[in-house]
Protein backbone atom coordinates (compact mmCIF):
# COMPACT_ATOMS: atom_id res chain seq x y z
CA UNK A 1 0.00 0.00 0.00
CA UNK A 2 1.50 3.27 -1.11
CA UNK A 3 1.46 6.25 1.25
CA UNK A 4 -1.05 8.10 -0.95
CA UNK A 5 -3.54 5.26 -0.80
CA UNK A 6 -3.09 5.01 2.96
CA UNK A 7 -3.73 8.74 3.29
CA UNK A 8 -6.95 8.56 1.28
CA UNK A 9 -8.04 5.54 3.28
CA UNK A 10 -7.41 7.29 6.59
CA UNK A 11 -9.27 10.41 5.43
CA UNK A 12 -12.23 8.28 4.40
CA UNK A 13 -12.29 6.45 7.70
CA UNK A 14 -12.10 9.73 9.62
CA UNK A 15 -15.03 11.17 7.64
CA UNK A 16 -17.05 8.02 8.17
CA UNK A 17 -16.36 8.01 11.89
CA UNK A 18 -17.39 11.68 12.02
CA UNK A 19 -20.78 10.86 10.58
CA UNK A 20 -21.06 7.87 12.89
CA UNK A 21 -20.25 10.03 15.90
CA UNK A 22 -22.79 12.66 14.88
CA UNK A 23 -25.43 9.98 14.50
CA UNK A 24 -24.57 8.48 17.87
CA UNK A 25 -24.73 11.91 19.50
CA UNK A 26 -28.29 12.27 18.30
CA UNK A 27 -29.28 9.18 20.31
CA UNK A 28 -29.54 11.63 23.18
CA UNK A 29 -32.77 12.94 21.70
CA UNK A 30 -34.44 9.70 22.76
CA UNK A 31 -34.87 10.91 26.31
CA UNK A 32 -36.11 14.31 25.25
CA UNK A 33 -38.71 12.72 22.99
CA UNK A 34 -39.92 10.48 25.80
CA UNK A 35 -40.06 13.43 28.17
CA UNK A 36 -42.01 15.64 25.77
CA UNK A 37 -44.42 12.81 25.07
CA UNK A 38 -45.05 12.30 28.78
CA UNK A 39 -45.48 16.04 29.26
CA UNK A 40 -47.98 16.33 26.43
CA UNK A 41 -49.97 13.34 27.66
CA UNK A 42 -50.05 14.69 31.20
CA UNK A 43 -51.06 18.16 30.07
CA UNK A 44 -53.86 16.88 27.83
CA UNK A 45 -55.20 14.71 30.65
CA UNK A 46 -55.09 17.68 32.99
CA UNK A 47 -56.90 19.89 30.50
CA UNK A 48 -59.51 17.19 29.88
CA UNK A 49 -60.24 16.95 33.58
CA UNK A 50 -60.26 20.68 34.20
CA UNK A 51 -60.69 22.67 30.99
CA UNK A 52 -60.77 25.94 32.95
CA UNK A 53 -57.11 25.50 33.89
CA UNK A 54 -56.05 25.08 30.24
CA UNK A 55 -54.16 28.40 30.13
CA UNK A 56 -52.02 27.76 33.20
CA UNK A 57 -51.41 24.15 32.18
CA UNK A 58 -50.30 25.17 28.70
CA UNK A 59 -47.84 27.74 30.00
CA UNK A 60 -46.29 25.26 32.41
CA UNK A 61 -46.27 22.59 29.73
CA UNK A 62 -44.40 24.78 27.28
CA UNK A 63 -41.88 25.71 29.95
CA UNK A 64 -41.29 22.08 30.88
CA UNK A 65 -41.07 21.10 27.23
CA UNK A 66 -38.40 23.75 26.79
CA UNK A 67 -36.39 22.15 29.59
CA UNK A 68 -36.79 18.66 28.17
CA UNK A 69 -36.02 19.87 24.69
CA UNK A 70 -32.83 21.59 25.85
CA UNK A 71 -31.21 18.16 26.26
CA UNK A 72 -32.03 17.26 22.67
CA UNK A 73 -30.66 20.61 21.52
CA UNK A 74 -27.38 19.91 23.32
CA UNK A 75 -27.15 16.62 21.44
CA UNK A 76 -27.93 18.44 18.21
CA UNK A 77 -25.26 21.07 18.86
CA UNK A 78 -22.71 18.38 19.62
CA UNK A 79 -23.61 16.57 16.39
CA UNK A 80 -23.35 19.80 14.40
CA UNK A 81 -20.00 20.65 15.95
CA UNK A 82 -18.75 17.20 14.99
CA UNK A 83 -20.03 17.61 11.44
CA UNK A 84 -19.26 21.23 10.62
CA UNK A 85 -16.37 22.31 12.88
CA UNK A 86 -12.90 20.93 12.67
Amino acid sequence: MTPEVAQILVAGIVTGLKFLGAGLAMVGTLGAGLGIGLLGSGAVQGIARNPDAAGAIQINMILAIAFAEAVAIYALVVAMLILFVG
Binding site: L76, M80, F84
Partner: protein
Protein backbone atom coordinates in the same frame (compact mmCIF):
# COMPACT_ATOMS: atom_id res chain seq x y z
CA UNK B 1 -70.76 28.65 3.99
CA UNK B 2 -74.41 29.50 3.44
CA UNK B 3 -76.09 32.81 2.74
CA UNK B 4 -73.98 34.82 5.17
CA UNK B 5 -71.00 35.18 2.87
CA UNK B 6 -71.20 36.52 -0.66
CA UNK B 7 -70.29 33.81 -3.12
CA UNK B 8 -68.27 36.02 -5.43
CA UNK B 9 -65.16 35.67 -3.23
CA UNK B 10 -65.10 31.92 -3.59
CA UNK B 11 -62.37 32.01 -6.19
CA UNK B 12 -60.21 34.46 -4.34
CA UNK B 13 -57.14 36.18 -5.60
CA UNK B 14 -54.71 34.74 -3.09
CA UNK B 15 -55.04 31.08 -3.86
CA UNK B 16 -54.38 31.77 -7.55
CA UNK B 17 -51.39 33.84 -6.54
CA UNK B 18 -50.06 30.89 -4.54
CA UNK B 19 -50.67 28.47 -7.40
CA UNK B 20 -48.90 30.86 -9.76
CA UNK B 21 -45.97 31.11 -7.35
CA UNK B 22 -45.71 27.32 -7.18
CA UNK B 23 -45.65 27.13 -10.98
CA UNK B 24 -43.06 29.91 -11.15
CA UNK B 25 -40.96 28.11 -8.53
CA UNK B 26 -40.91 24.99 -10.72
CA UNK B 27 -39.44 27.01 -13.58
CA UNK B 28 -37.10 28.92 -11.29
CA UNK B 29 -35.75 25.64 -9.95
CA UNK B 30 -35.21 24.42 -13.50
CA UNK B 31 -33.30 27.59 -14.38
CA UNK B 32 -31.22 27.87 -11.19
CA UNK B 33 -31.04 24.60 -9.32
CA UNK B 34 -30.50 25.15 -5.59
CA UNK B 35 -26.99 24.28 -4.52
CA UNK B 36 -25.86 23.04 -1.16
CA UNK B 37 -23.97 25.94 0.37
CA UNK B 38 -21.11 25.48 2.73
CA UNK B 39 -22.48 25.22 6.27
CA UNK B 40 -20.39 27.20 8.71
CA UNK B 41 -21.01 27.81 12.39
CA UNK B 42 -19.02 31.03 12.66
CA UNK B 43 -20.53 34.08 10.91
CA UNK B 44 -18.81 35.18 7.71
CA UNK B 45 -17.01 38.53 7.52
CA UNK B 46 -18.55 41.00 5.09
CA UNK B 47 -16.15 43.91 5.52
CA UNK B 48 -12.84 44.12 7.22
CA UNK B 49 -10.52 43.72 8.85
CA UNK B 50 -10.66 47.09 10.59
CA UNK B 51 -7.88 48.13 12.94
CA UNK B 52 -9.46 49.02 16.25
CA UNK B 53 -7.22 50.27 19.06
CA UNK B 54 -7.11 48.00 22.12
CA UNK B 55 -9.22 45.32 20.44
CA UNK B 56 -7.09 44.51 17.43
CA UNK B 57 -8.61 43.41 14.16
CA UNK B 58 -12.38 43.54 13.89
CA UNK B 59 -14.67 42.35 11.15
CA UNK B 60 -18.14 43.48 10.17
CA UNK B 61 -19.85 40.10 10.12
CA UNK B 62 -23.11 39.36 8.38
CA UNK B 63 -24.91 38.70 11.66
CA UNK B 64 -24.00 42.22 12.81
CA UNK B 65 -25.74 43.60 9.73
CA UNK B 66 -28.66 41.36 10.59
CA UNK B 67 -28.70 42.78 14.12
CA UNK B 68 -28.82 46.33 12.73
CA UNK B 69 -31.71 45.27 10.48
CA UNK B 70 -33.62 43.83 13.45
CA UNK B 71 -33.01 47.00 15.44
CA UNK B 72 -34.23 49.08 12.52
CA UNK B 73 -37.46 47.06 12.25
CA UNK B 74 -38.12 47.38 15.97
CA UNK B 75 -37.41 51.13 15.90
CA UNK B 76 -39.78 51.65 12.98
CA UNK B 77 -42.48 49.71 14.82
CA UNK B 78 -41.89 51.75 17.99
CA UNK B 79 -42.06 55.03 16.06
CA UNK B 80 -45.27 53.91 14.35
CA UNK B 81 -46.88 53.20 17.70
CA UNK B 82 -45.61 56.50 19.08
CA UNK B 83 -47.10 58.43 16.16
CA UNK B 84 -50.43 56.63 16.52
CA UNK B 85 -50.54 57.33 20.26
CA UNK B 86 -49.65 60.98 19.79
CA UNK B 87 -52.51 61.39 17.34
CA UNK B 88 -54.80 60.64 20.25
CA UNK B 89 -57.13 58.22 18.51
CA UNK B 90 -59.35 56.36 21.01
CA UNK B 91 -58.70 53.02 19.30
CA UNK B 92 -55.33 52.18 17.74
CA UNK B 93 -55.61 50.70 14.27
CA UNK B 94 -53.25 49.07 11.84
CA UNK B 95 -49.76 48.16 12.98
CA UNK B 96 -50.10 50.11 16.21
CA UNK B 97 -53.22 48.14 17.07
CA UNK B 98 -51.40 44.88 16.41
CA UNK B 99 -48.50 45.90 18.64
CA UNK B 100 -50.97 46.97 21.34
CA UNK B 101 -52.64 43.55 21.24
CA UNK B 102 -49.28 41.76 21.45
CA UNK B 103 -48.04 43.91 24.33
CA UNK B 104 -51.33 43.48 26.20
CA UNK B 105 -51.20 39.70 25.83
CA UNK B 106 -47.58 39.67 27.01
CA UNK B 107 -48.43 41.90 29.98
CA UNK B 108 -51.29 39.63 31.05
CA UNK B 109 -48.94 36.66 30.78
CA UNK B 110 -46.32 38.43 32.88
CA UNK B 111 -48.88 39.52 35.48
CA UNK B 112 -50.23 36.00 35.92
CA UNK B 113 -46.72 34.77 36.80
CA UNK B 114 -44.89 37.69 38.39
CA UNK B 115 -47.73 39.32 40.36
CA UNK B 116 -46.51 42.36 42.30
CA UNK B 117 -43.20 42.80 40.55
CA UNK B 118 -44.65 42.75 37.03
CA UNK B 119 -43.70 46.36 36.39
CA UNK B 120 -40.02 45.61 36.98
CA UNK B 121 -39.85 42.30 35.13
CA UNK B 122 -42.13 43.01 32.17
CA UNK B 123 -39.75 45.29 30.20
CA UNK B 124 -36.99 42.67 30.17
CA UNK B 125 -39.27 39.85 29.20
CA UNK B 126 -41.15 41.79 26.51
CA UNK B 127 -37.95 43.21 25.02
CA UNK B 128 -36.36 39.78 24.81
CA UNK B 129 -39.48 38.27 23.24
CA UNK B 130 -39.79 41.05 20.65
CA UNK B 131 -36.09 41.05 19.71
CA UNK B 132 -35.90 37.28 19.44
CA UNK B 133 -39.18 37.10 17.52
CA UNK B 134 -38.12 39.71 14.97
CA UNK B 135 -34.67 38.12 14.70
CA UNK B 136 -36.15 34.65 14.17
CA UNK B 137 -38.61 35.81 11.58
CA UNK B 138 -36.19 38.08 9.72
CA UNK B 139 -34.23 34.92 8.96
CA UNK B 140 -37.10 33.83 6.71
CA UNK B 141 -37.02 36.88 4.43
CA UNK B 142 -36.03 36.15 0.84
CA UNK B 143 -32.48 37.20 0.05
CA UNK B 144 -31.22 36.47 3.54
CA UNK B 145 -28.43 33.88 3.46
CA UNK B 146 -28.49 33.81 -0.35
CA UNK B 147 -27.20 37.22 -1.55
CA UNK B 148 -23.63 38.20 -0.83
CA UNK B 149 -20.02 38.27 -1.94
CA UNK B 150 -18.67 35.51 -4.12
CA UNK B 151 -15.56 33.91 -2.70
CA UNK B 152 -13.35 31.46 -4.46
CA UNK B 153 -13.68 28.11 -2.81
CA UNK B 154 -10.52 26.55 -1.49
CA UNK B 155 -9.62 23.76 0.87
CA UNK B 156 -12.30 21.15 1.39
CA UNK B 157 -15.07 23.69 0.81
CA UNK B 158 -17.35 22.58 -1.99
CA UNK B 159 -17.55 25.22 -4.71
CA UNK B 160 -19.77 25.85 -7.70
CA UNK B 161 -19.21 27.71 -10.97
CA UNK B 162 -20.70 31.18 -11.30
CA UNK B 163 -22.20 32.87 -14.36
CA UNK B 164 -22.20 36.61 -14.83
CA UNK B 165 -25.72 38.04 -15.19
CA UNK B 166 -25.01 41.73 -15.76
CA UNK B 167 -22.59 44.48 -14.76
CA UNK B 168 -23.20 47.65 -12.79
CA UNK B 169 -20.18 49.79 -13.47
CA UNK B 170 -17.20 47.89 -12.12
CA UNK B 171 -19.29 45.46 -10.12
CA UNK B 172 -20.22 42.17 -11.69
CA UNK B 173 -23.50 40.61 -10.60
CA UNK B 174 -23.31 36.85 -10.91
CA UNK B 175 -25.38 33.84 -9.99
CA UNK B 176 -24.05 30.56 -8.75
CA UNK B 177 -25.35 27.62 -10.72
CA UNK B 178 -25.20 23.91 -10.74
CA UNK B 179 -23.49 22.74 -13.92
CA UNK B 180 -25.48 19.72 -15.02
CA UNK B 181 -25.80 16.78 -12.71
CA UNK B 182 -22.14 15.85 -12.27
CA UNK B 183 -20.49 17.01 -9.06
CA UNK B 184 -18.48 20.20 -9.39
CA UNK B 185 -14.83 19.50 -9.99
CA UNK B 186 -11.86 21.79 -9.85
CA UNK B 187 -11.00 21.16 -13.50
CA UNK B 188 -12.79 23.93 -15.43
CA UNK B 189 -12.84 27.54 -14.26
CA UNK B 190 -12.91 28.92 -10.75
CA UNK B 191 -15.39 27.63 -8.21
CA UNK B 192 -17.17 29.94 -5.83
CA UNK B 193 -19.11 29.97 -2.58
CA UNK B 194 -21.38 32.71 -1.32
CA UNK B 195 -20.65 34.66 1.87
CA UNK B 196 -24.09 36.19 2.47
CA UNK B 197 -24.48 39.83 3.46
CA UNK B 198 -27.26 39.05 5.87
CA UNK B 199 -27.48 35.87 7.85
CA UNK B 200 -30.11 34.89 10.41
CA UNK B 201 -29.21 36.58 13.67
CA UNK B 202 -29.82 33.64 16.06
CA UNK B 203 -27.54 31.41 13.99
CA UNK B 204 -24.68 33.34 15.60
CA UNK B 205 -23.80 32.04 19.05
CA UNK B 206 -22.56 35.51 20.06
CA UNK B 207 -26.08 36.95 19.87
CA UNK B 208 -27.75 34.20 21.87
CA UNK B 209 -24.94 34.21 24.43
CA UNK B 210 -25.30 37.98 24.86
CA UNK B 211 -29.06 37.66 25.38
CA UNK B 212 -28.55 34.81 27.85
CA UNK B 213 -25.99 36.86 29.79
CA UNK B 214 -28.36 39.84 29.90
CA UNK B 215 -31.19 37.64 31.08
CA UNK B 216 -29.24 35.83 33.80
CA UNK B 217 -27.34 38.89 35.07
CA UNK B 218 -30.51 40.98 35.23
CA UNK B 219 -32.20 38.15 37.12
CA UNK B 220 -29.50 38.50 39.78
CA UNK B 221 -29.83 42.30 39.79
CA UNK B 222 -33.61 42.15 40.20
CA UNK B 223 -33.25 39.54 42.92
CA UNK B 224 -30.67 41.65 44.77
CA UNK B 225 -32.66 44.90 44.56
CA UNK B 226 -35.92 43.23 45.58
CA UNK B 227 -34.72 40.96 48.35
CA UNK B 228 -31.61 42.90 49.39
CA UNK B 229 -28.35 41.20 50.35
CA UNK B 230 -30.42 38.29 51.66
CA UNK B 231 -30.71 37.16 48.07
CA UNK B 232 -27.11 36.00 48.21
CA UNK B 233 -28.12 33.65 51.02
CA UNK B 234 -29.50 31.44 48.28
CA UNK B 235 -25.95 30.77 47.10
CA UNK B 236 -23.88 31.17 50.27
CA UNK B 237 -26.00 29.55 52.93
CA UNK B 238 -23.75 29.55 55.98
CA UNK B 239 -26.46 30.47 58.52
CA UNK B 240 -26.99 27.09 60.10
CA UNK B 241 -23.32 26.23 59.67
CA UNK B 242 -22.35 29.19 61.85
CA UNK B 243 -25.06 28.47 64.41
CA UNK B 244 -23.99 24.85 64.67
CA UNK B 245 -20.86 25.67 66.68
CA UNK B 246 -22.81 27.47 69.40
CA UNK B 247 -25.06 24.46 70.02
CA UNK B 248 -24.12 22.14 72.91
CA UNK B 249 -26.09 19.00 72.10
CA UNK B 250 -25.91 18.21 68.40
CA UNK B 251 -28.17 15.54 67.01
CA UNK B 252 -26.99 13.58 63.98
CA UNK B 253 -29.29 15.51 61.61
CA UNK B 254 -28.34 18.88 63.02
CA UNK B 255 -24.76 18.09 62.17
CA UNK B 256 -25.57 17.06 58.59
CA UNK B 257 -28.06 19.72 57.48
CA UNK B 258 -25.65 22.69 57.64
CA UNK B 259 -23.35 20.95 55.17
CA UNK B 260 -26.33 20.12 53.00
CA UNK B 261 -27.23 23.81 53.01
CA UNK B 262 -23.77 24.74 51.76
CA UNK B 263 -23.92 22.04 49.11
CA UNK B 264 -27.34 23.19 47.90
CA UNK B 265 -25.97 26.74 47.68
CA UNK B 266 -23.12 25.54 45.48
CA UNK B 267 -25.62 23.70 43.30
CA UNK B 268 -27.70 26.87 42.93
CA UNK B 269 -24.57 28.75 41.90
CA UNK B 270 -23.76 26.12 39.28
CA UNK B 271 -27.37 26.20 38.08
CA UNK B 272 -27.05 29.92 37.32
CA UNK B 273 -24.13 29.23 34.99
CA UNK B 274 -25.93 26.26 33.47
CA UNK B 275 -28.80 28.64 32.71
CA UNK B 276 -26.52 30.78 30.56
CA UNK B 277 -25.43 27.73 28.57
CA UNK B 278 -28.91 26.29 28.15
CA UNK B 279 -30.45 29.66 27.22
CA UNK B 280 -27.87 30.38 24.54
CA UNK B 281 -27.59 26.88 23.10
CA UNK B 282 -31.34 26.33 23.00
CA UNK B 283 -31.96 29.33 20.77
CA UNK B 284 -28.80 28.82 18.72
CA UNK B 285 -29.39 25.11 18.25
CA UNK B 286 -33.01 25.46 17.22
CA UNK B 287 -32.43 28.23 14.71
CA UNK B 288 -29.18 26.86 13.30
CA UNK B 289 -30.80 23.47 12.84
CA UNK B 290 -33.67 25.27 11.11
CA UNK B 291 -31.26 26.98 8.71
CA UNK B 292 -29.50 23.70 7.90
CA UNK B 293 -32.83 21.92 7.47
CA UNK B 294 -34.04 24.59 5.09
CA UNK B 295 -30.87 24.30 2.99
CA UNK B 296 -30.97 20.51 2.84
CA UNK B 297 -34.68 20.29 2.07
CA UNK B 298 -34.18 23.02 -0.53
CA UNK B 299 -31.58 20.91 -2.34
CA UNK B 300 -33.44 17.60 -2.04
CA UNK B 301 -37.00 18.67 -2.89
CA UNK B 302 -36.72 22.22 -4.19
CA UNK B 303 -40.30 22.78 -5.36
CA UNK B 304 -43.02 22.46 -2.75
CA UNK B 305 -41.49 21.24 0.50
CA UNK B 306 -39.46 24.39 1.34
CA UNK B 307 -42.77 26.25 1.83
CA UNK B 308 -43.74 23.73 4.48
CA UNK B 309 -40.34 24.07 6.13
CA UNK B 310 -40.74 27.86 6.10
CA UNK B 311 -44.11 27.51 7.83
CA UNK B 312 -42.54 25.20 10.40
CA UNK B 313 -39.71 27.70 10.92
CA UNK B 314 -42.29 30.44 11.51
CA UNK B 315 -43.78 28.29 14.25
CA UNK B 316 -40.39 27.39 15.75
CA UNK B 317 -39.36 31.04 15.76
CA UNK B 318 -42.48 32.05 17.66
CA UNK B 319 -42.19 29.19 20.17
CA UNK B 320 -38.48 29.83 20.81
CA UNK B 321 -39.07 33.55 21.34
CA UNK B 322 -41.89 32.78 23.77
CA UNK B 323 -39.79 30.17 25.57
CA UNK B 324 -36.82 32.52 25.94
CA UNK B 325 -39.02 35.32 27.29
CA UNK B 326 -41.11 33.10 29.53
CA UNK B 327 -38.09 31.40 31.07
CA UNK B 328 -36.65 34.85 31.78
CA UNK B 329 -39.98 35.84 33.32
CA UNK B 330 -40.16 32.72 35.49
CA UNK B 331 -36.54 32.97 36.68
CA UNK B 332 -36.93 36.66 37.48
CA UNK B 333 -40.19 36.17 39.37
CA UNK B 334 -38.60 33.27 41.26
CA UNK B 335 -35.74 35.59 42.22
CA UNK B 336 -38.17 38.19 43.56
CA UNK B 337 -40.26 35.68 45.46
CA UNK B 338 -37.26 33.96 47.00
CA UNK B 339 -37.11 36.36 49.94
CA UNK B 340 -40.39 35.33 51.56
CA UNK B 341 -39.79 31.63 51.11
CA UNK B 342 -36.23 31.82 52.40
CA UNK B 343 -37.30 33.60 55.58
CA UNK B 344 -39.95 31.03 56.27
CA UNK B 345 -37.36 28.33 55.94
CA UNK B 346 -35.05 30.09 58.33
CA UNK B 347 -37.86 30.42 60.87
CA UNK B 348 -38.60 26.74 60.49
CA UNK B 349 -34.97 25.89 61.06
CA UNK B 350 -34.75 28.02 64.19
CA UNK B 351 -37.63 26.26 65.88
Amino acid sequence: METAQPTKRRFGFHRWLIVALIVVSVFAVRAYAPIRPHVQVAPEAVLGPFKVPLLGEMYLTNTMISLLLVDLILLVLALAVRRAVKKGAPVLTGIAGLIETVIEALYNLAESTAGKSTRRIFPWMATIILVVLVANWSKLLPGVESIGWLHEAHGDVEGYPARELFRVGEVSVSAIELSGSEPASHSEGALYTVAPWVRGLPTDLNFTLALALISVVMTQVIGLTTAGPGYLGKFFNFGRFARMWTRKDLGPFEAIFPFLDIFVGILELVAEFAKIISFSFRLFGNLFAGAVLMVIVGTLVPVFLPSGVLLFELFVGLIQALVFGMLTLVFMSMATQLHGGGQEQEHGGAH
